[in-house]
């Protein structure tokens, strides 16, 4: 979707895959209109993001001229849920949809024992401790499936592999190398090989320098750059298969005619490495002479133990029909629910007791980690839009957050008093809250941001004043006077809080005119106090409010007073210092009022 997900924590764009429409329809066994296909996607939890072609994409990205010879074949860009790695290539997508439509029985994936071995040396534990491997025997690639094979690796690298940091995939022509293979970690100067698609040999150190300017590979260099030992995989003849997570060797590179593919995944996260390996082999074993059969590799651990990979685990779960029905809000039999689940690749059968369903989680569905995932799949197959809605019975008495309630009442009061509300950013530059107000940043109790992309996000504001002044500056063409206010949160460091910071709600109003108009903001203060039922008082009184001369570097000397209420300082008002006005690019004088709202709760 164009807009970021809302409840979904962050803006992790769902991965999008591009598939040739005609090939897709051929594999699905029928054609669809764009609308029909969009609807099918919608129910399955996919989104048809864009209908385009290579030519259109090139035209958009570069120029019509560059796109001249590009293909006009229609491409569907399809958005896939971020946890469904099994839908990241056209093979898996087609399989998923056909099974969803009850047109295909989920295949049974099988790993058979082979003879190849990958030995993990203990030195790798310091840099990239895990490795798994598998072999696709007697595979026949077509141009399309070959491209899809390469593309899937890239998609996996970008998603679950977290840009190769967690897992890096290497695929090799097994016939060009000879096992057993060894996964080692060596000083970079002692690693020397001809990397993929290069004509010369490089040491690892030279390679890191060489790829510094490579638009693609330079993003991965940081993963191992400062390590004393670099990970590397050799065959028995010391031919380098790969130097993960950067680059493969040229000797073992695969091509359209490759018959036997050796796949290795090295990782810092073993679980993810297994998922990645399982995903690749389940997707592409369909092109092997024995479809869906994978040859396992013996992976010898540093302690000498041997584990066979891929594991291709099938897991059995038991769930009752009642549980699914109760969570979704439907009334279906265990037999019906089992058939719904089977359509989501979770082959299921109702047990004899008529209540329990046996659900088999295949190796392609690593996203199913809890019963609630099974419930969801049942609901998707049932159709979210077929669920009959009911209003929750939960009966509660509402309440406003008192601080927000008071804020809203005050906002109205200020607008009634002739001030216009503005809405400014909580993040700003260090200068905004310090230098521009004639203060030193060291003296400002601001919270600082570690990774701002621009100066506008260096700190959280400690005062609303800069935002208001910037707003006026952008609206200088309006008729005078400009009278604005904002009631919002500022952030201070606060060691007594668990996170070391707290918000505080402040009110700030600024009058901008040919004359400073101290009396305007002073009058506003009186009005606000009237609204808050605080009477004017005298210095000796414990109650009431009064103003008293003070100094503040942001305000003009002798034209600044603090607001004392109930014997406590709650704010400040005055004519802004000419240097402050100038810093915010304002030609005319300003007076301002700042008070803390929380004192009046």
């Amino acid at each position: 979707s164009v807009f970021r997900p809302f409840l979904c924590s962050n803006s992790i764009a769902m991965p999008t895959i591009g598939v040739k429409r005609d090939l897709l329809f051929e594999a699905l066994g029928r054609t669809y209109t764009d609308e029909q296909f969009e609807e099918l996607c919608f129910d399955f939890g996919l989104e048809l993001d864009e209908v385009t072609s290579e030519k259109l994409m090139l035209t958009k990205e570069q120029s019509e001229k560059r796109a001249e010879d590009a293909s006009e074949a229609i491409i569907y860009k399809i958005e896939v849920p971020a946890n469904r790695y099994d839908l990241l290539c056209v093979e898996g997508l087609v399989r998923g949809i056909l099974i969803f439509q009850d047109k295909m029985v989920p295949p049974r994936y099988e790993a058979i024992r082979g003879k190849e071995r990958l030995v993990i040396r203990k030195e790798t534990s310091g840099v990239r401790p895990h490795a798994v491997a598998a072999i696709l025997r007697d595979i026949t690639f077509s141009q399309e499936s070959y491209e899809s094979f390469i593309e899937l690796q890239e998609k996996l690298h970008q998603t679950i592999c977290r840009k190769r940091a967690l897992v890096a995939i290497g695929t090799h022509d097994l016939d060009a190398i000879e096992g057993p293979f060894s996964y080692e970690a060596l000083p970079p100067d002692s690693i020397r090989f001809k990397p993929l698609n290069q004509t010369e040999e490089f040491t690892a150190t030279e390679l890191m320098e060489f790829y510094k300017t490579d638009s693609h590979l330079r993003h991965y260099l940081h993963i191992i750059k400062d390590e004393p030992l670099y990970p590397v995989i050799y065959d028995r003849n010391r031919v380098v298969l790969s130097m993960p997570p950067i680059i493969n060797g040229d000797r073992s590179k695969i091509h359209l005619g490759t018959k036997n593919v050796f796949i290795e995944c090295t990782a810092t996260d073993l679980n993810k490495a297994k998922i990645v390996l399982d995903t690749i082999v389940t997707m592409f074993s369909q092109y092997c002479a024995k479809p869906f059969v994978v040859e396992a590799v013996e992976v010898e651990q540093p302690d000498g133990s041997v584990i066979l990979h891929p594991e291709l685990p099938y897991r059995e779960e038991f769930i009752t029909a009642t549980e699914i029905n109760k969570k979704v809000g439907i009334e279906e039999s265990s037999a019906k629910l089992a058939s719904l689940l089977s359509r989501m690749c979770l082959v299921s059968e109702p047990m004899r007791d008529g209540k329990t369903i046996k659900v088999e989680i295949p190796p392609t569905r690593a996203d199913v980690i809890h019963g609630c995932d099974i419930v969801e799949d049942a609901a998707i197959a049932y159709g979210f839009n077929n669920v009959k809605m009911t209003i929750p019975k939960t009966n509660t008495i509402a309440a406003q957050f008192p601080l927000n309630h008071l804020t809203d009442l005050l906002r109205n009061g200020l607008a009634h008093a002739g001030f216009t509300e503005v809405l400014t950013f909580a993040l700003c530059s260090r200068d905004d809250v310090a230098t521009f107000l004639n203060k030193k940043i060291e003296d400002v109790p601001a919270v600082h941001i570690e990774n701002p992309k621009t100066v506008e996000f260096q700190v959280a504001r400690t005062t609303l004043l800069p935002g208001l002044l910037k707003t006026i500056s952008c609206n200088r063409n309006l008729a005078l006077p400009i009278k604005v206010f904002e009631i919002s949160d500022v952030v201070y460091q606060e060691s007594s809080k668990d996170v070391g910071a707290r918000n505080e709600r402040w009110l700030c109003a600024v009058n901008y005119n040919r004359a400073p108009g101290f009396e305007v903001v002073h009058g506003l203060l009186d009005r606000i106090m009237e609204l808050l039922e605080v009477a004017p008082g005298k210095e000796k009184d414990a109650e009431g409010y009064f103003i008293k001369a003070t100094d503040d570097s942001a305000y003009f000397d002798g034209r600044c007073a603090e607001v004392i209420c109930g014997g406590k300082r709650v704010g400040i008002l005055g004519v802004l210092h000419p240097s402050v006005v100038r810093k915010f690019d304002l030609p005319m004088p300003c007076s301002a009022l700042e008070i803390s709202v929380e004192e009046f709760l």
Binding site: F3, D43, N271, K326, H370, M389, T396, C474, A501
Partner: protein, 520 residues
């Protein structure tokens, strides 16, 4: 806008008052002429009465506003008007005469001398015309310079006098060729001229009383308003804009959303904590520590204070277990969960961090009691900015925690919620959120855009999030969220989010913004 608004009374009243005495007699004079002749054009009246044409037109319009007194017909006529240069000639004399006068009557004058005296163009025209009219002649001097000599003794400035006549609209005796000649010399231009033909109306009278501008307190006291004619109002003008302050459009929409939640019995959460630990922002929500959302490219991490000083220890231990796996019926993520990572402070990326805190608080009660909570507040994301994405925006969030809530309940409450926003045609798409399962994106059919648009995201919180807190096993939490900015942009047709949020917002837009009625 304000100028138009003030026009109804403000400007007109002033002009009426300023010319009150003059106008009265002019009104009368016009009526007298019409009475005598039956009809008269505004231009003839101006000439006849010795007034500026514009003033006469004003008086005619004013008479026309009195019911039935006069009929007024608008006419377009052609009019010769003097150009700027023409006006100059009418006042100061033609170029040829001026040049002629400057030529010494006996010895003649060198061209170079004249060049010092006059602008080049004037000299050129003056000399050319002088030669054509045979007033002057040119003599060679043997150098590049030339000598101008008078050929006649006196000249008559016919151009000047003709232009003067035209300026006064005394066109008798001026031949067609003269007009053309002057037009060619760019001293005259032909323009359109609107005149008004005034004739007697159905209630024609010469006895009119000057209309009174406005009712006064004196008139009310004395009763003098009786029998007076009041100057009619121009009802097509706008009124005077009232002086007042205004609330910000986005905050008005926010108030409406608060109102909707309150109407539905939801209690507002305290969301006044922008700085949050990764623990509450991510870990408590069962978002693994290696999730891409926790990347520096997406989240603002804090430099100072860098770490949260404390986490709720027992609970954090449970969170660690559930992440690492094989707890609470979950396989988990099978990795090594680190306290250090959880303690990293961030600017909260969603208000769901507060939801997690509220649910945890709820779990600490003796007995669980159902709740409905909501919030609308700021969240922060360190990602690429564009026309629809800012580094900070408002998230709207609501949730219900109760025993045995269902997906059907979630759909039901979403229908009720979005109905209040005027959206009744909804559909739901399966999606993936790290901490809800099932998860649904909410789409609404937009009648004007004629398509389904994504309006929100929703789901049932995962047991891996709720059970480590200690909430009873059969308690479910259904939740949904959306941004405040997006529906506002759609509602007010704002293309760029910066026009709605931040210091670059046009305050005039804030002034002009209508009431916020989300269901309209």
């Amino acid at each position: 806008r304000n100028i138009v608004r003030n026009r109804r009374l403000g400007l007109k009243t002033i002009s009426f008052a300023d010319h009150a005495m003059e106008e009265k007699s002019l009104h009368q004079k016009i009526l007298d002429v019409v009475s005598e002749r039956g009809s008269a054009s505004s231009s003839a009246l101006a000439k006849h009465l010795g007034y500026d044409h514009q003033t006469v037109v004003g008086a005619i319009k004013s008479l026309h506003s009195l019911p039935g007194v006069v009929n007024v017909e608008q006419r377009q006529t052609e009019l010769w008007r003097l150009t700027g240069e023409g006006k100059d000639v009418a006042q100061n004399g033609s170029h040829e005469v001026i040049v002629f006068e400057a030529v010494d009557s006996k010895k003649g004058t060198l061209q170079s001398e004249l060049e010092k005296k006059f602008p080049r163009e004037r000299l050129e025209v003056g000399v050319r015309q002088g030669l054509v009219k045979k007033w002057l002649e040119l003599k060679k001097t043997g150098t590049d310079d030339k000598l101008l000599m008078r050929k006649v003794k006196v000249v008559n400035d016919e151009v000047k006098s003709t232009l003067q006549k035209i300026a006064e609209q005394r066109l008798e005796g001026i031949g067609e060729s003269q007009f053309k000649d002057l037009q060619r010399r760019k001293l005259l231009i032909k323009g359109a001229f609107t005149t008004f033909l005034v004739s007697k109306g159905s209630a024609f009278t010469t006895q009119i009383e000057k209309p009174v501008a406005e009712l006064t307190a004196d008139m009310i006291a004395s009763g003098a308003w009786k029998g007076k004619t009041f100057k009619p109002y121009n009802f097509s003008a706008l009124g005077l804009s009232p002086k007042s302050g205004h609330l910000h459009p986005l905050m008005k929409v926010r108030s409406e959303f608060r109102q909707i939640f309150l109407e539905m019995g939801f209690t507002e959460m305290p969301t006044n904590n922008f700085v949050e630990s990764s623990f509450w922002n991510f870990d408590a929500l069962f978002q693994p520590q290696q999730h891409p959302a926790r990347d520096a490219h997406d989240t603002f991490f804090m430099k100072d204070p860098k770490y949260a000083a404390e986490l709720p220890e027992e609970y954090a231990e449970q969170v660690k277990l559930v992440h690492e796996g094989n707890q609470y019926g979950s396989i988990g993520y099978q990795y090594d969960w680190k306290f250090e990572e959880a303690k990293k402070n961030v600017l909260r990326t969603h208000t769901t961090a507060v939801t997690a805190r509220m649910l945890y608080k709820l779990s600490q009660q003796e007995t669980f009691s159902p709740v409905k909570y909501f919030s609308v507040d700021r969240v922060f994301r360190n990602e690429a900015l564009d026309a629809t994405h800012l580094a900070e925006f408002h998230q709207i969030e609501g949730f219900i925690a109760d025993y045995d809530l269902t997906l059907a309940n979630l759909i039901g409450i979403l229908y009720e919620f979005f109905k209040k926003l005027g959206m009744t045609n909804l559909k739901f798409k399966p999606t993936y959120n790290p901490y809800t399962e099932p998860s649904m994106e909410v789409f609404s059919y937009h009648d004007e855009l004629k398509k389904w648009i994504e309006v929100g995201n929703s789901g049932v919180f995962r047991p891996e999030m709720l059970l480590p807190m200690g909430l009873p096993e059969n308690v479910s939490v259904i939740a949904w969220g959306l941004s405040l900015e997006r529906p506002t942009m759609i509602k007010y047709n704002v293309a760029n989010i910066r026009d709605l949020f931040g210091h670059k917002v046009d305050l005039q837009m804030v002034h002009d913004n209508p009431l916020c009625r989300l269901d309209k």
